[in-house]
Structures are given as C-alpha cells and as structure tokens.
C-alpha cells in the first residue's frame, strides 16, 4: 500500500496540507468569531476572502502597491465593506433566526462574485510571489512564501484567540454573546461592538485572501469553492469555538494532505467524512466541551 511513497511526496503533501490548513484555520476562525459572537452564519465569508485577494490584485495592477502594502490595505478595505454590509443588510434582520443571515449573506455572495465576474471575467488573474525562491531541505524544497504563509497564519490565529479570550475587549464580546442587554446596560455600545466584530471577522477573510493571492490564482470563484470545506471545519471544531476552528483547520489540512499520499481518491471526501462522524458522535463539535 505504501509502495512508491517517497519522502519528497510525503513531506510535499504534508506542506500543502499545512498551507491549506493555514487558510482553513484563518477562514474558519473568522467564521467562528462571527457566528459565536453574533449568531450570524456568514455565507459571504468566501466572497469576502476573494475580495481580499482581488483588492490586492487591483492595488498592484492599478496603483502599483506591492504585496506588503496590500497586506495592510486590502483587509482594511474588505473590513469597511463588511461594516457597510452589516449596517445595511444584517442589522435589520439581527432579531430573526440565523437562517435568515445565511440566506442574506448567500445572496450577497452571488452579487459580489457576479459583480467581479462581470468586470474582470472568470479566469484566474496571476499575482506574483513577493518572496521568490526557497530552501532545499534535502527531502523537499520549501518555498519561502509558503513558509511565510504558515508562520503568519499561526501568529494571526494565536493573536486573535488571545484578543478574544484574554483581553477586556474579548470579555465584553463573550459577555455580549451571552446577554447583550446586560452588557449594554453597563454603558457599552453593543450594536457598534457587533458591527466592528463583523468587520473584524470579514477583515480576517480579506487578509486570508491577500495571503492566498500569490499561491492560488485570483478568481471570482476562489472563495466559493473553499467555503463548503470551511463550513465543515467550523462544524467539526464546534460552531462558535474559536480555538476549535483554528486547531481543526490545521488538523484537517494535514489530514487532507496525507490522504492525498495514502489514498488520493479519498482526498476530496475525507473532511466531509470526518464531519459526518463528528455530527453523529459529537454534534456540538470536537472542541465545544460538550457531547450533545
């Protein structure tokens, strides 16, 4: 069964798994923050990820802003877009069942993707790597940019987790999730806090998009193809569990990569198979702390 599996193949796929896992973790974390703190099922997360990549591409192709500038500007632009979106289409339905937010953000996804497709076509747009080259580790070649993506995503995930779980701001957010009325009665502007939370989650999607631009081609559908997997990651990790989303993201990226080595036919199925098992045996997710 393991005949023909070389170290290059094994570690190569492991690296791809970790890189994919980095995107899964960052996107799932943003989705978990938005769902966990606002009860909004943000189906537009993939489109917002695509917007991040697209804004980076636009900044480079029209204004000559390099990758390192786009890494700051594009997430900010996407976060502002998210802020407007929350005010215009999510706030009016905030009191309704989360199903409505799913439908509304799904509609927003179609509009965003359609608008980008209309103006720039369906084919992928190239974005060159800001860190060309790499290092030969003997058993595999490690591109610098991919190493940067992994390290950057780990720091971003840890930083965000620390912000939510170990700061006063995070305590406000978690408390507002439990009882928004009580937190607002403390004199805290909870509606504004929720708008900024959504913008922050969306900004994370935009940041992931910028990171992805040099690896995957920038295309209108780059987010929607990823979204189903991201939802599976969030469900497996536990809806609303931020650390659950992060750990599951990396774990599933690695599992997917290794499956490509040992059973390539099952690589596209493995995440959904795990989701099925999680839903049967731990419906609240692997990291929710509860079995049912």
């Amino acid at each position: 069964m393991f005949d023909g599996i070389t170290p290059q193949l094994l570690f190569g796929q492991l690296l791809i798994g970790v890189i994919n896992g980095s995107f899964y973790a960052m996107l799932a974390m943003g989705l978990a923050i938005i769902f966990g703190l606002m009860h909004v099922v943000n189906f537009a997360h993939g489109a917002q990820y695509m917007l991040g990549a697209f804004v980076a591409w636009l900044l480079l192709s029209t204004l000559g802003v390099p990758y390192w500038g786009a890494l700051f500007i594009a997430p900010l632009v996407v976060a502002i877009f998210g802020l407007v979106m929350e005010r215009l289409i999510l706030k009016p339905i905030a009191h309704l069942d989360p199903l409505y937010s799913l439908l509304v953000t799904y509609a927003a996804t179609l509009v965003i993707e359609g608008a980008v497709r209309l103006n720039y076509g369906s084919t992928g747009l190239p974005y060159s790597s800001p860190l060309p080259g790499g290092v030969n580790l003997g058993f595999m070649f490690m591109p610098w940019y991919r190493l940067w993506v992994v390290v950057f995503s780990i720091f971003t995930c840890l930083g965000t987790w620390l912000l939510i779980e170990h700061t006063k701001l995070g305590a406000y957010l978690r408390a507002a999730n439990e009882s928004p009325e009580t937190v607002e009665s403390f004199g805290i502007n909870v509606p504004r806090m929720m708008t900024l939370t959504y913008a922050f989650g969306v900004g994370l999607a935009g940041l992931s998009g910028v990171l992805a631009a040099p690896i995957y081609q920038v295309s209108p559908s780059m987010g929607s193809t990823l979204m189903i997997t991201i939802f599976a990651v969030v469900v497996i990790g536990g809806m609303g569990s931020i650390m659950g989303a992060i750990l599951t993201g990396y774990l599933l990226g690695i599992v997917e990569g290794l499956t490509k080595v040992f059973y390539p036919e099952g690589a596209n199925l493995v995440i959904f198979f795990i989701m099925l098992l999680a839903l049967i045996f731990r419906p609240r997710g692997l990291f929710s702390g509860e079995k049912s």
């Binding site: 978690r174 009665s185 403390f186 909870v190 509606p191």
Partner: protein, 239 residues
C-alpha cells in the same frame, strides 16, 4: 425649566406605556423617585414591575410616554446611553456571565462616572465574593450571584440603581443580608428603585411603595402608611 436637584425628583415617569409585540404591558404608569429615596414597585407576578424597569433602561424599546432623569428625557435613548447618564440595572435573572470568573464579572462594567466603589471597598462590603474571586460565575450560590450582580454595578459610578427582585429564590438568612446591604447603599446616598414581591423585604428597606397591577399604578403609599394599612396592600398582592 432646568433640573433642580433640591426640588425636582431624580426620576419622573409619566404616562409610560410599553408593548411586547401587540400586547400592551404598561398602561400610563406614572410615579417619581426623589434623590436618595428608596422606592419599591410591588405587585403580583406579571403585573408589569420588571417591564417598568426594563422600559426605564430602554431594554423594552417599544414604549411611549415620558421618563425624565435629572430633567433629561430618556425616551429615544439607547440602553447604553441611559446607563451613561448614571442609571445602573441589576436584572432579575442576575446576568452573571458563566464564562467569566467572579473577578472578571465584577470588573467587566466600565467606569462611567467618578465616585464608584473601589474593588477593595466592594470586597469589604461583600466579603463572600472575596473568597470566591477566581470561581466561575455559575459556581456561586444564588445569594452569592445576587451579591455579585449588585456589587458589579457599584463600581461604575452610577448613583441610581434599578434592582429587580434581589430577594427572589433566596434563603431567608441571605435575604436578610441582601436587605442589610441595600440599606447600607441607601445610607451612602444611592437612590434605588426596587422591584419586589416579598412584602416583608420591601417594608424592611423602602421609604415608599408604588403598587402595580395589570400594568398600571393602583396605589402609592409610604412605608409608615403601609405599616398601618397592610391588609390593603396584601389584597393587591393576593397574599
């Protein structure tokens, strides 16, 4: 006319009406609370006492009439804006956050005005909380949760307290302790609007009582009047 703290009531509620969906919960409720006074809203379950507090706090948004605090209209203001004017609310369900420790719960509300109690004074006033500082909020007994809920709103500098049934579900000895602490707060100059069903508890702490029935004020009497005409109020409460 500008607000005069010596003559004008601190809180003046006039013709307050409130709705939950299509159902009207309050019908032209009017009463006032003077500076430093402790007024109770008493009445049966579902009479509209908590709704009155929630309407003052802006939590029940669908409301009409007038609520003047320090001469300023609160109608149209959001809950956080009302809190920033100096009104603190302790909800009936206590609102202790399960995810946070006692200390985190205690220090969660931001300081809104100067003059709030320091952490040291709070722990001195509520010694039970000191020993449980690192426990999760939900690991506390009902009495400790209630003390935490009250202590939490004393840090922020608000001098007008809305307390919703602080004695509910507590053992008599704990009720007595809560009563002692509420009297202590009154002595320190806090103005308190208290929702109560426990008549004995209300009598032990209040200056004045506003009786609410079916969402309307049906009687107002001082604590002394209540002492001589207890049967009148017991009829309202169905005791």
């Amino acid at each position: 006319m500008p607000f005069d703290a010596r003559t004008d009531p601190l809180l003046k509620v006039e013709n307050l009406r409130a709705w939950y969906g299509d159902s009207q919960a309050l019908h032209d409720v009017s009463f006032d609370v003077a500076q430093g006074e402790l007024v109770t809203l008493i009445g049966r379950n579902g009479a509209g006492k908590s709704t009155t507090l929630r309407s003052i706090m802006g939590i029940v948004r669908n409301r009409k009439g007038s609520i003047l605090f320090e001469g300023q209209e609160l109608m149209g203001k959001r809950t956080y804006q009302i809190a920033r004017k100096g009104i603190a609310w302790c909800p009936e369900e206590r609102g202790i956050f399960a995810d946070l420790s006692v200390r985190e719960n205690l220090t969660l509300p931001p300081i809104l005005k100067p003059g709030g109690m320091s952490d040291a004074t709070l722990l001195e006033t509520f010694p039970n909380l000191k020993a449980r500082a690192t426990s999760r909020g939900t690991q506390l007994s009902g009495g400790e949760q209630q003390m935490l809920a009250i202590a939490r709103i004393l840090r922020n500098g608000c001098r007008f307290l809305l307390l919703d049934e602080p004695s509910e579900g507590l053992a008599p000895v704990v009720v007595k302790e809560i009563g002692r602490q509420i009297r202590l707060l009154k002595e320190q100059g806090y103005t308190i609007l208290l929702v109560e069903q426990n008549l004995n508890f209300a009598r032990s702490v209040a200056d004045r009582h506003v009786v609410i029935e079916n969402g309307a004020v049906v009687d107002t009497l001082t604590n002394d009047e209540l002492a001589v005409d207890l049967d009148r109020v017991k009829t309202y409460l169905g005791v």
